[in-house]
Symmetry: C2
Subunit: 109 residues, 2 copies
């Protein structure tokens, strides 16, 4: 995947994994959770969870803060909005095009 770039592709790629969507789900309540907490119940190792969180961090989807010996993660709502925006643009373009097409058809003699 793209490394340095900060494109919507990076964002979507980070969302493109069931485990990561799960993590985001857990954080969507606005809570602040540690790696261990976030990995609780998952069938993968702590390191695997940490790697997933790294991906989310790299895509700007989460915020990382240290507190004592643990590292806390929170969701970055702005990033979610960014992804939404991209999809909205595509959807809107499509809707507009469809609208023009319908209009064209209806005005045929």
């Amino acid at each position: 995947m793209l490394k340095g770039e900060d494109s919507p592709a990076r964002l979507f790629a980070a969302l493109g994994d069931a485990t990561r969507l799960g993590l985001i789900g857990r954080l969507s309540d606005g809570s602040e959770r540690s790696i261990v907490q976030l990995g609780d119940g998952l069938p993968i190792s702590r390191q695997a969870v940490a790697k997933h969180l790294d991906v989310l961090l790299g895509a700007g989807l989460v915020r990382r803060t240290k507190s004592g010996r643990e590292v806390l993660f929170t969701l970055r709502r702005e990033a979610v909005a960014e992804a939404q925006d991209w999809l909205r643009t595509v959807g809107t373009q499509w809707d507009d095009a469809l609208g023009r097409f319908k209009n064209f058809i209806e005005n045929q003699p």
Copy 2:
């Protein structure tokens, strides 16, 4: 990635590539385009484009129809809406949680 499953993760993974986002962009005007047309201008081979379209098809993001010797693709707006829905849910949960928190803070003595 997940093979048979029809999860949002599959959808986002398909969106998680700059080339594919580009293809979707080209189709977002409601047009119907062939593989060659879609690949026009891109610095990759026709087969690479075809593979990307396969991924999009697998995620339900495009529709495929044959016409003579060519294969035409169109965007499936419903799939875009699906992705939007997922993000909206996350965003809404977050907003609600933030709202409750603000309310709690403001009502502190």
